[in-house]
């Protein structure tokens, strides 16, 4: 049983009121709220530990080492991986950039990705290789066939967004990966938007890389993960060099530590890691299948409520199938920034407006920007109804 009321109590930010009314946080695709356990994990580190990691033999440092590696273990469990394959980075963007570095790409290599990708899963490839884009169909979906048609003999990797941060549509990554493997093409999954909404199993997916951020999965900002098959981590040089990632250094040579530590040069974001570990434990404690059910329930309600508001134009307009609760739309002829500001000022609804770091997709929809409502497991159907009522009121007057 998924008790939303009880879960909401775990999120102090949900108690926030503006002008005496509760805040509706509907900008979870940007960043999620943090549960108490995450706040406490970060707080505990600052209050009681504050030692560096993997560097000391004192009691505090030893405790930090243990907690840090426990966090790695928790995050590995969340995606059914081995801890040695979990490299801590700053965020999904850095994770994908690290993957691009590990692949040693040149402009002779082809990368295939969807037009719906977040800039983080688009620019690292565009900067290093030749990118071939798959255009989503009218329902905003990409198919394994479209990826295979875009592939060439030079294609080195399929860069796959698991869930679009604009449309909330879940891509058939498992099928695409299966086809890619048959052709010897590597795959990377950008799981930034999916990790909070569904169970992830890197082994079952069969991908080669998977990246996600802490702050979008109820954890702190400034911490993220790149999961990579061990063979890539074993055979490639890291992107960053410095303290803590070497086992020996002499005047003319050095020995890189085995992964994942060899990829974590310098003092890492220790408190962020502990917080992210706590977030992973929190999600697993809820049960990822339950989380997925709640996500589907919210997505269904959100899509149908938004469709019922006259004056809104959702993108894509009709997209049956698997989704998470993220919907983007235009509010009549209003500028998305105006609509978002009014939703905030008048109705205490926090949404995001703009191109959502997915400019090619928003332009493909023929828009300069969109308003996006994105929900998380602590949102309720009542909140969705309130959002729809507010949008109706807004449209009836201004759209």
């Amino acid at each position: 049983m998924f008790d939303v009321a009880a879960i909401r109590k775990e999120f102090p930010a949900l108690q926030r009121q503006l002008s005496g009314r509760p805040v509706i946080f509907a900008d979870n695709a940007s960043t999620s709220l943090k549960p108490l356990c995450v706040i406490q994990a970060v707080d505990y580190y600052y209050r009681h530990l504050c030692a560096n990691v993997h560097r000391g033999v004192n009691v505090l440092a030893q405790e930090v080492d243990t907690l840090y590696e426990d966090a790695r273990g928790s995050i590995a469990s969340l995606i059914h991986a081995r801890p040695a394959e979990i490299v801590f980075v700053r965020n999904t963007t850095e994770g994908i950039n690290l993957a691009a570095h590990l692949l040693g790409l040149t402009k002779q290599d082809d990368i295939v990705c969807s037009l719906a990708e977040h800039h983080s899963n688009f620019l690292p490839w565009l900067a290093r290789a030749n990118v071939r884009c798959v255009v989503p169909d009218d329902q905003g979906r990409v198919t394994p066939r479209a990826f295979l048609e875009a592939a060439t003999p030079k294609t080195k990797l399929f860069a796959l967004g698991h869930v679009s941060n604009v449309t909330g549509i879940v891509s058939p990554v498992a099928e695409i990966i299966q086809e890619a493997r048959k052709r010897g093409i590597l795959t990377l999954v950008d799981a930034a938007q999916s990790v909070t909404h569904m169970p992830l199993d890197v082994k079952a997916l069969g991908c080669d890389f998977l990246a996600f951020s802490g702050h979008k999965m109820l954890g702190p900002s400034g911490i993220g993960v790149l999961w990579a098959r061990e063979e890539f981590l074993q055979s490639r040089l890291p992107m960053l060099f410095g303290g803590g990632m070497v086992s020996s250094v002499s005047a003319d040579r050095f020995q890189v530590q085995p992964p994942p530590h060899g990829f974590e040069a310098g003092t890492p974001n220790i408190e962020g890691t502990l917080g992210m570990g706590a977030a992973a434990e929190f999600l697993m404690g809820l049960g990822m299948d339950n989380v997925r059910q709640q996500s589907r329930r919210l997505a269904e309600a959100l899509v149908s409520q938004v469709a019922s508001v006259s004056g809104l134009r959702a993108f894509p307009q009709n997209s049956p199938g698997d989704r998470v609760p993220i919907v983007s739309f235009a509010v009549g002829s209003m500028s998305p920034d105006d609509a978002a500001a009014i939703l905030c000022n008048r109705y205490n609804i926090m949404v995001r407006s703009g191109v959502h770091c997915a400019e090619p997709l928003v332009r493909h929809f023929g828009q300069k920007g969109l308003v996006r409502v994105s929900l998380c497991l602590y949102n309720t159907v009542e909140e969705i109804e309130y959002i729809a009522e507010s949008l109706s009121a807004l449209c009836s007057v201004l759209a």
């Binding site: 500001a341 000022n345 201004l398």
Partner: protein
């Protein structure tokens, strides 16, 4: 439609707009001169009552607000009853916009959505009727030149206001142009009045290359009127003086958007050698008052009703009060007794210019920027315009910022102008003591740059102790 036809249609539409507004403003000007003060007030009152009745009947926000205050339109019979109507605040607009404040079906009563620049704190959304979006500077142009058509005006203001007014003016023919494109728009001089110049994020420290280009474009366009934010125009004037560039000849300067202080007025007058006027307005209310040749601000009585409220009652002539404005044209989102957040000084007696509208002697700046000195002067509120007198005439200052940190502690930041004039901090301190009290302490520092607010406007005077003491 081919390109030539499109340009011809566009030119014809602009010319039509130009003359349409010209006749509108001309008629208004005649009205201000021919009607007596009583006649203007009576007409204004009738318009106000019509708006009040409309708001009471149609706008949920006003229905609730008036009910709570026990006000009905029938109960408001004379201007003395006005004080019974509670003042509308920016917070109320923010919390009730749009569904409880905006009336009407857009199809039948077209309107446009606007947003204030946020210079009084937070930005505010509003709607105004499409027909009400007159090019506000048109009337100023008419006052200064007697004509509207074919009078080129060049405008320079903050990036936000440039963006807002460009979209606003799109309908009426003004253009925001990139400096590089200015050479291609020579024909604008003959079609339009307003050429919007590209703005700078931080005008006080704008690179000289930008300023050079700006001067080049202004010289090329040879405007009759230079229009814009006084800080922006003041920076341009300073650059011209420092670089010893030939000064573009303009007939006059009209400022708006921000407070025109005495020191900025002096600088503009000295450098450009022409008269400087201000136009008082706000994005959400449009044009409120225009300065006449006798340097008094005439309220546009047919468009707005302005009250100056001091400690809850109307300010007397010569007193400073909070500007409370009613927009008489906006039925889409009535703004009735709206506290605009500014301080104004009430004028007295008829103006020698012959216009019989209400007079605002001076606009004193934002209410939230008032300074309240300690000691013997306790309780006395000093407005940004009054504080500026301390700096007026002092050499060597490009810009300043005065912040009251505690009751008798002031931080004064000076940005030097780079001219040979000496900056004398002792004179400044002496003047400050005279104004803020002998027991006051001043920490005077020089900086390379004074940064603008988030809205890209500058806040030169403010207090961390008092807020809106008037």
């Amino acid at each position: 439609m081919n390109v030539v036809a499109r340009v011809a249609v566009s030119a014809a539409r602009r010319a039509y707009d130009c003359y349409r507004y010209y006749f509108y403003w001309r008629a208004q000007e005649k009205m201000y001169r021919r009607w007596s003060s009583e006649q203007l007030k009576a007409a204004q009152w009738e318009t106000f009552r019509r708006l009040l009745g409309f708001a009471y009947e149609r706008i949920p926000f006003y229905q609730d607000k008036f009910s709570k205050a026990g006000v009905t339109p029938e109960g408001i019979r004379t201007p003395e009853d006005l004080l019974r109507i509670p003042v509308l605040t920016k917070d109320e607009i923010r919390q009730n916009f749009p569904d409880r404040l905006v009336e009407g079906n857009r199809r039948f009563h077209p309107f446009q959505i606007g947003q204030t620049s946020g210079s009084t704190g937070e930005s505010l959304h509003f709607v105004r009727p499409e027909t009400g979006w007159h090019r506000t500077i048109g009337y100023s142009v008419l006052l200064r030149t007697g004509r509207v058509a074919n009078i080129p005006v060049v405008s320079l203001t903050t990036p936000q206001c440039t963006a807002a007014s460009c979209s606003l003016h799109d309908q009426e023919g003004a253009h925001g142009v990139g400096l590089g494109k200015c050479q291609k728009v020579w024909f604008l001089r003959h079609l339009d009045q307003v050429v919007e110049l590209p703005s700078s994020e931080s005008i006080l420290c704008a690179p000289s290359r930008y300023m050079e280009q700006l001067v080049g474009v202004i010289s090329y366009l040879a405007p009759c009127i230079l229009y814009g934010d006084p800080v922006y125009l003041g920076s341009l004037a300073l650059y011209l003086k420092k670089a010893r560039k030939p000064i573009p000849e303009v007939r006059c300067i009209v400022t708006s958007f921000e407070l025109l202080t005495g020191s900025l007025r002096d600088r503009l007058r000295d450098v450009f050698g022409c008269d400087v006027y201000t136009q008082y307005g706000a994005s959400e209310v449009s044009d409120i008052a225009n300065e006449c040749e006798h340097h008094r601000l005439h309220v546009r009585a047919n468009i707005v009703m302005v009250e100056a409220i001091r400690h809850g009652v109307p300010a007397k002539p010569g007193e400073i009060g909070r500007a409370v404005v009613t927009d008489l044209e906006n039925y889409n989102m009535p703004l009735i007794r709206y506290d605009i957040g500014d301080l104004i000084e009430v004028g007295n007696g008829p103006c020698p210019c012959g216009r019989n509208t209400d007079v605002i002697e001076q606009v004193h700046g934002r209410a939230r920027d008032v300074i309240t000195p300690a000691g013997a002067d306790k309780g006395r509120a000093l407005t940004p315009l009054q504080v500026d007198e301390v700096f007026r005439g002092l050499g060597g200052i490009a810009a300043y910022r005065l912040v009251q940190r505690s009751e008798n502690q002031y931080d004064i930041t000076i940005m030097r102008d780079g001219l040979p004039d000496n900056f004398d901090s002792r004179t400044l301190e002496g003047r400050c003591r005279a104004m803020f009290g002998q027991g006051s302490h001043f920490n005077i520092t020089s900086v390379d740059e004074i940064k603008p607010e988030r809205s890209k406007k500058y806040r030169f005077v403010y207090s961390q102790v008092s807020a809106g003491a008037v």
